[in-house]
Symmetry: C2
Subunit: 212 residues, 2 copies
Amino acid sequence: MTQTSPPQSGHLTATGTTQRQRILDIALALMAQRGVDGTSMRDLASAAGLNVASLYHYFPSKRELLVAVLEERGFISDLTSPSSASLTRDPAGALADLLDDVLRSMLEVEDFIRLMMGEVMRGDETAFAVGNELFAATQASLERWLEDSEPEMCQGPGPGAVARMLRAMLVGLFFEHVAGVLDDGDDPAKAFRLRAEEVAAVLRSRSGSGGD
Amino acid sequence: MTQTSPPQSGHLTATGTTQRQRILDIALALMAQRGVDGTSMRDLASAAGLNVASLYHYFPSKRELLVAVLEERGFISDLTSPSSASLTRDPAGALADLLDDVLRSMLEVEDFIRLMMGEVMRGDETAFAVGNELFAATQASLERWLEDSEPEMCQGPGPGAVARMLRAMLVGLFFEHVAGVLDDGDDPAKAFRLRAEEVAAVLRSRSGSGGD
DNA sequence: CCGACTGCCAAACGAACGTTTGCTATAGGC
DNA sequence: GCCTATAGCAAACGTTCGTTTGGCAGTCGG
């Protein structure tokens, strides 16, 4: 009875913290897709199979629920965890692998980033703080990797400048993905992979090692 | 009486089309800052010095008002108009000038882009269409410039790849500006200028012409 | 001078919102 | 067995929303 399986018989399948987390997950998904103002407490309750009033047993207000969703720090650590592929390849494709790795991580927490970005556009202070944290972490992660794996690339302007450029580009790419500019459709990961290789090719051609 | 001066004595200072445009301008500013759902028709009417019902003399619904705001094509042509500075400088600083030019143009229509981006994040179809149009225009503009002014930079991956990368980076930079990641504060244009030079330095170092 | 038209407003409409109240029913420690 | 806490519900609260109604004051061609 203490499993994390979805509820089936109405009440008492998930207790306390588990139910709270379930509500957070549902809120993230719905708010990311329809916007915060476009998602009512009744919508959330309905999606969770609950009554509206029950939501207020777990969160004192809609605002607090949104803050709780935004401040789940797991999403940020997911994005800045040591990349799996970016350290094991040959130097020629290493940058592409790194960029692909970050983009894939962003894709896994897409709802979170969409929600954060949307709220940032509307001037939400909590989203500002969360966004800044995520940006700073990504920046530091990129910078560290560049210093270790591609020191030549940063000789002129320094690793900070290159990392800032790459970060802005990743943010822009993700936005274009959400906007449907990238022809994702069936496979966003593949589109990201192509873009990562493309960017790596542009930056790699600086050392005159030629294209593929 | 047919001037475009702001109203002073209450009624009858701006007629028909002029008043309609005034409402559009106000709606753009308010909706960009507080979001569409966060801006009520009463808010708009109050900001325009009008009664709510008067808005419905110019727009059949709030939705139609939003569409009218988003579909003002002037904003897009502003962004893709031939750049003033990017063709008159020495080759070394030409790319920085171009990027700075585009960023400055984006800054001039900041509200429009903020509104569009925010609605894209919420899945609005009209915003999708407008955003795609703007992205495509920027892409084409960048590509054209690269072919004319920096053909060497595109030798490996081609001008399309470089232009796509630059566009994503510009989008990301603008988002970071809105998110307050760039330390704008007093002078966003200056921060954009610095970033443009930084990026140009990274891309310029490919031909081995040294730093600044 | 007079109708039609335009621009504008006060007031109200029903619906949806966030939130609260008051009530059941189960679970677990004493 | 009781008693408190937990988890849940139906129903209602007051407010705000988008929108509509009906009417008033100027403008202008005839």
